[in-house]
Symmetry: C2
Subunit: 348 residues, 2 copies
């Protein structure tokens, strides 16, 4: 999650609820109103991206950490082990870094079958090899039966900032274009259906993958015309773009018809009263590119393996500042807000 | 935990038990027999220390990760938040690195009072400032009530390797001396008593602290004569020294009377049938120093704030290779083995 730390936000909730981990408004209040001012007071006023930057010697590094608590552990197209690798690789990639190495810490519930654990560490090894990163260290803790849900994984990634990347909300200009790499909402709806709580069948798979090839293609093609990137996970595209709108003080205008969403995802969302733009993705990237490079950047995304559905979905404007609007084919507009509450808990 | 990965170890247990997280023999089998060969096959044959090394540009880095699941969250002298900072700082320090920055990921159980969380993030902020490291990023996940134990914390630390440090089991020579920084077993027994499961009162406090000042003092005083360092946490001094004995192929001979253990810890251990050398520490360092620098190194440790009880507790010999022996004042010797089983679960 990106946040610009403001000392003005206060967290007054009496206890922690599921919504505080959902990546939307409640998460933002917890992080900005409690965690950052308490733990990282020196960061007030800084923009905090998906990865933190750190310069050591002549090395400009990006470092990011994420815990994964997805339920169930396995679902069509992926598993917690794959998510744990790809999610961290992706946070580095969208920060303009070349992912290099990971460390992984496991919290295992006593009584978990060895085969369950083995399947996930195999998935982690395979995903790391596929993403071209090394797993260089780790830790394992075991808690009593009933004190976890089989397995939680925390991965921390370290990468080298690409010197061509000059990314940030402050670089975004009116007229810039908004690109996405593929269909939105596949991951969240797949995990939801895998739980079996809802009587609905759909031929869907999680989109978990490394988005580094997309980030690299954009840097190659657009260079400094690439303004900003994010992987819209918890809270979906709507939340990522609202964070950007707030941080850059611009309006983001989406062409509703151009946003790639599969019929199965749209159908499930209609049934459940959800907006596909609030559903988590695990293998998509949203980018802001200067208009003169947008077409070539889109072509570059489409040439990447798995990028056939990449699309230009909107543009940056001046007003209404700080807002995301979706324009329908009939000319109607709707405000696209951040996720509120937690309709889909433990999606990553 | 230090391990030299050997492809010969096989993990045949059907499910994960508490002992697999205790830091002793069962942990070692899980890590060496399953996790490393599956997830980090390229590491076979490498010695894996408390921190992994990584060179980026001209920066020689150390990186380490640990999850903290201690129960209860608070105990005399410390809390999970302090442990989470100090434990990771210490893994960097004993690897010969200057700790620079941390990232922290929280897994919070829904229903946890905000005050409980706030107390721990305050403890983390204070411990980081005290240790001189910056917290530069983080993540927060929430799981349903009953799916965690209020709070688990994973911290990852990054540091710069001190160019003076040339540490490793392979550097250890017969005649080298064994030093420790203070009383052993305080942390483990304090946490055990804080649970209230045992009807025993003792005026004990956890020893949680940054051991970086000790590591720095040893490097300043002994330089290349400093052979090896470790912070003996899970599994205690006995486990750390058994790992060293195995890795260096030497005998480690301890002077039982010289090992600093408080009467309260010794008494609790006698009552519970435990060996103080198997009890976890969170603010101690054990070091191997060449004999010609051992006395000055010991004086340097004693000059560090909190180092008054530092002691020279033994020496390295040739035989019996791979073994830790304790010699009593009466001349009797006993084999000091690694921890087996998990007498004190969730101690860190």
């Amino acid at each position: 999650m990106t946040t610009t730390l403001s000392p003005a936000v206060r967290f007054g909730d009496a206890q922690i609820e599921m919504s505080h981990g959902a990546g939307g408004k409640a998460s933002r209040r917890l992080v900005e109103g409690l965690i950052l001012p308490t733990m990282m007071a020196e960061a007030i006023g800084q923009a905090l991206g998906d990865a933190a930057n750190l310069t050591i010697g002549d090395a400009r590094l990006a470092i990011t950490t994420d815990s994964f608590v997805v339920r169930p552990l396995r679902f069509p197209g992926g598993s917690i082990g794959e998510l744990a690798i790809n999610g961290t690789v992706n946070d580095l990639a969208v920060s303009g870094a070349v992912p290099l190495a990971l460390v992984c810490s496991l919290i295992v519930e006593a009584g978990t079958p060895t085969g369950t654990l083995q399947a996930e560490i195999e998935a982690m090894g395979a995903a790391a090899r596929h993403a071209g990163v090394r797993i260089i260290g780790g830790d394992t803790k075991v808690v009593e039966h009933g004190k976890a849900d089989a397995l939680y994984i925390t991965t921390t990634g370290i990468g080298r900032l690409d010197p061509r990347a000059a990314l940030g909300a402050e670089a975004v200009r009116p007229g810039d274009r908004i690109l996405v790499t593929g269909h939105l909402g596949d991951h969240g709806i797949t995990v939801l259906l895998a739980r079996g709580d809802i009587d609905l069948a759909a031929d869907l798979r999680s989109d978990t993958r490394s988005v580094y090839p997309f980030a690299a293609a954009l840097l190659d093609e657009a260079g400094a015309a690439l303004r900003w990137m994010r992987d819209p996970t918890r809270g979906g595209l709507a939340t990522s773009l609202n964070e950007l709108a707030r941080d850059c003080g611009r309006a983001l205008l989406l062409d509703e018809e151009a946003i790639p969403v599969r019929d199965e995802v749209r159908g499930a969302c209609e049934l459940l009263g959800l907006d596909p733009l609030h559903i988590a993705n695990e293998g998509q990237l949203v980018a802001i590119v200067a208009p003169e490079r947008a077409d070539r950047a889109l072509e570059a995304l489409r040439r990447v393996d798995g990028g056939g559905a990449a699309a230009l979905i909107g543009r940056v404007d001046v007003a209404p500042a700080g807002t995301v609007l979706a324009v329908s084919a009939y000319g109607g507009t709707r405000v696209v807000d951040m996720l509120v509450g937690d309709p889909l808990p433990r999606i990553c």
